[in-house]
Symmetry: C2
Subunit: 387 residues, 2 copies
C-alpha cells in the first residue's frame, strides 16, 4: 500500500480515498461503485488494496502515488470534486439505481474538474447534445444552432468533446457565449482528440472539462462507454442529433433512458445514414422528435417555464367565415356573375341565408354585387384584405 | 319530384334512391348520412325531397334528373357502387362511428367508380399516401419510391390525384405496375386538376377513380374535406409525406385517427417547412415515424405477414470479443511492443486472464507476439480479418 494512506484521517480521508480509488479502479466499474456505496470510500479503498476486486486492482493500488497525482492536478489547475462538495452535481445519484450497460455503471467515485465554471450550478439547467463523429453538414449545423440557442437561453450544453456533433455543440455554445461542459474519457489535462486541442483548451479556460479519470489518463473504448453515462446523468435531457446504427451516442441515449431523463432526437433525410439512429429512436418511442431549441426547452423545463407557442399556419381569409358563408363563398363564381338565387341553389342554402352570407362577404370585400349579379373578387384583392 | 322516382321499386329502389341522394345532397353531409342510417335510402330520399334537410336540398331533389345522370355515367363507363355490392369496400362503415370533422362525416351514400379494378379487392390491402401540393423534390421522390415499393408488394396505393405528393404517389404505383386508386372531390369523369389530366386518364384506364359525387361534379373546398375522409377510411393506413401546417393532408390524417387506422409520417429536414406537419404529428404521438415501405408494411400488416428485419450496423471485429478480451485488446499498444505483465496491469486483469486473452486475439490475427512483447496489428490488417 502506498505511503500516503497514512494521511487517511479526519475530513481528509473520504476525499483521499476517493482520489486514490479514482486512480486505481477504472471509471464506471460497477463493483467498485457498489463497494463505495456499502462500505464508504475508506472501506472500499481498504478492500480494493487488499484485493477484494482482484489482484490486478490491488497491484494498481500498490503503485498509486497520490502525492504525484496531486502535483499533476495542481499543475493543471484541476480540482477533485466528491459527493457532499458544493460543486458536486445533482443527478449522478440516479446512476445508483440503474443497471449496468455493457458492464459499466454506478455513481462516479469522484470527478476531476478543470475550468472556471461551477459544476453543480451549471448542471442544474443543462442539456446534452450528442451524436456521430462522422456527422453531415446538416447535423453539424443543427447541433451548433441548437447549442447556441440553448446557451443563449442560459442552458448549459454538455457534450463529449469528440469530432463531429460533439465539437459542433461545444462550438455553438461558445459562439453564443453560453456555458458548456466537456465530459471526457481521459484526464482533464489531456487534450483529446488532438485535432480538437484548441476547442479543448477554450472550454477548459472559460468553461468546464470534467472526467472521472485522473490527470494524465488516456481514453479507451471502455472509458468512452463509462463516460457516456456521466453525460446522460448530469444533463437534464439528451438530444441525439445524428448517429449511425452503431455509435456511442446510442449508448449515451441508453443511459438517458436508464436515468429517466427526456431523450430527444432530431429528424433528417430518410436517405441519410447519419439520421438512421435518431429515426429508429423516435419510431420506437424511446425518443421524442425535436426540431428546435424551443422544443427541447419545453421537454426539459419545469411546466410553464419555457411555454411553447403552438405552431399554426398563416391566417386565411376563410378562417373567420361561418360554414354558411364558406359554402356561399365557394358558390360565387369569379369569372362571371351569378344571381343570388342560383348561388343559393349551388350552395344548398336557403335564399335568406344566402343573402345574409353574401352581404357579410361583401362587407369584408370578398364578393361584389353588380347589375348582373354577384361575383367573387380576384385573388389579388383577397390577399389585400387578409390582415 | 323528378319523374324517375316512380322507378323506386324492388331491387332497384335502394340503388336508385342512393344515386338520387348522391346527386342531391353534398358528399359527406352528416345529416343525410344519418337519415340514410335511420330510414334507409328510400326513406331518406323521400324525406330530403320533402324538405327535411331544408328547402335548398328539396329544390335540388326536384331538379335531379336520374336518367340524365345515368346517361352521363354510361357514356364515361362509370358504375355506381352501393353497400351490399360485391365491390363495396370494407372500412367505410367505420365512418358511422366517427364524429364529423369540419362538419363533414358519415358513411358515403354510394360511390361512383371508374376503371377496371375491383374496388373492394384492391382496398383490402391498401395504404394511402398523402401530402402537400407544394412538395419538395425530396418529398416527391420519396412518395414515388414508397408508392412503387408498396405497389410491388401488392399493396394498393390510394391518394387524391392532386399535384405534388398525391400525383407522385400515383405515378410511383403506376411505374411499378401496381394497383392505385384516385379518390377525388369531383365527378370521376372530370379530370381535375387539368394539369394532371394525363395521370387522371391513365389511372381511370388501368386502375380506379372513385368519388361520392356524381359524374360532372366539380370540386369545392368542402368537397375536398369530405373526400379526405374516404381516403383515410378506405386505406388500411395513411402515410403523410410532406405537408405544411395548414393542409388537406392534415385533415386526412385526422380522419385516419378517427377511423383508428395507423397514421404514419415521413421525417425530413428540420429546415423544410414541408416537413413541419409530419414532424408535429410524430412529436405529438399522433403519427409513427416511417422511413421505408418495409416500415409502412410492418404497421399495416397482420402480425408476421411482413416481418421487418431489425436494423443493425455492420459487424465489427470487437463484436465477438469477451469483455476480458476487449479490455486486453485495448491495452495492447500498436506502435510499440509491451510485455504481457504490463498489458495485464494496464488492463486490470490477472496474468492468466491476460495471457488467455492475448492468445485468443492472436488466433484471430488481431495481436502479434514477438521477442520484445506484444503489439496490436495495424488497422489495415484488422479490416481484412473482419468477415
Amino acid at each position: 500500500m502506498a505511503s500516503w494512506t497514512s494521511g487517511l484521517d479526519g475530513t481528509w480521508s473520504d476525499r483521499a480515498a476517493r482520489m486514490a480509488l479514482s486512480c486505481t479502479v477504472d471509471g464506471g466499474d460497477p463493483e467498485a461503485a457498489e463497494l463505495v456505496r456499502r462500505l464508504g470510500a475508506e472501506g472500499a479503498w481498504a478492500k480494493v488494496a487488499e484485493g477484494a476486486l482482484g489482484e490486478p486492482w490491488a497491484r494498481r493500488a500498490a503503485v498509486t502515488d497520490l502525492d504525484l497525482v496531486e502535483r499533476l492536478a495542481a499543475r493543471a489547475a484541476v480540482r477533485f470534486v466528491v459527493p457532499g462538495d458544493d460543486e458536486w452535481p445533482d443527478g449522478l445519484e440516479d446512476l445508483e439505481r440503474t443497471s449496468p450497460i455493457q458492464r459499466r455503471g454506478g455513481v462516479p467515485i469522484g470527478l476531476w474538474v478543470r475550468g472556471p465554471g461551477h459544476l453543480a450550478g451549471w448542471v442544474a439547467q443543462s442539456v446534452s447534445i450528442v451524436g456521430s463523429r462522422a456527422s453531415t453538414a446538416y447535423g453539424t449545423g443543427l447541433a451548433a444552432d441548437l447549442a447556441a440557442e440553448l446557451a443563449e437561453a442560459g442552458v448549459t450544453v454538455i457534450s463529449g468533446m469528440a469530432f463531429g456533433i460533439d465539437a459542433a455543440a461545444h462550438r455553438g455554445a461558445l459562439a453564443a457565449g453560453g456555458p458548456t461542459i466537456g465530459v471526457v474519457a481521459n484526464g482533464v489535462d489531456v487534450a483529446y482528440p488532438p485535432g480538437n486541442a484548441k476547442l479543448f483548451e477554450a472550454v477548459a479556460r472559460d468553461h468546464l472539462i470534467v472526467s472521472e479519470l485522473p490527470p494524465g489518463a488516456h481514453p479507451t473504448r471502455i472509458r468512452f462507454l463509462a463516460r457516456n453515462r456521466l453525460i446522460a446523468a448530469m444533463a437534464r435531457g439528451t438530444v441525439v442529433v445524428e448517429a449511425a446504427l452503431r455509435s456511442g451516442a446510442r449508448n449515451t441515449a441508453g443511459w438517458a433512458l436508464e436515468c429517466q431523463r427526456p431523450l430527444m432526437a432530431v429528424p433528417g433525410s430518410v436517405h441519410s445514414r447519419a439520421s438512421a439512429t435518431p429515426h429508429l429512436m423516435i419510431r420506437s418511442g424511446q425518443a421524442v422528435l425535436v426540431t428546435s431549441a424551443a422544443e427541447v426547452l419545453e421537454l426539459v423545463s419545469q411546466i410553464g417555464q419555457h411555454p411553447l407557442v403552438p405552431q399554426s399556419g398563416p391566417e386565411r381569409v376563410t378562417d373567420a367565415m361561418s360554414e354558411d358563408q364558406l359554402t356561399v363563398f365557394e358558390a360565387v363564381p369569379a369569372r362571371r356573375r351569378a344571381a343570388a338565387g342560383d348561388i343559393a341553389l349551388v350552395a344548398g342554402v336557403s335564399m335568406p341565408v344566402c343573402l345574409a352570407a353574401l352581404n357579410a362577404l361583401a362587407d369584408r370585400g370578398l364578393v361584389e354585387a353588380g347589375d348582373r349579379g354577384w361575383r367573387a373578387l380576384p385573388i389579388q384583392a383577397l390577399k389585400q384584405v387578409v390582415r
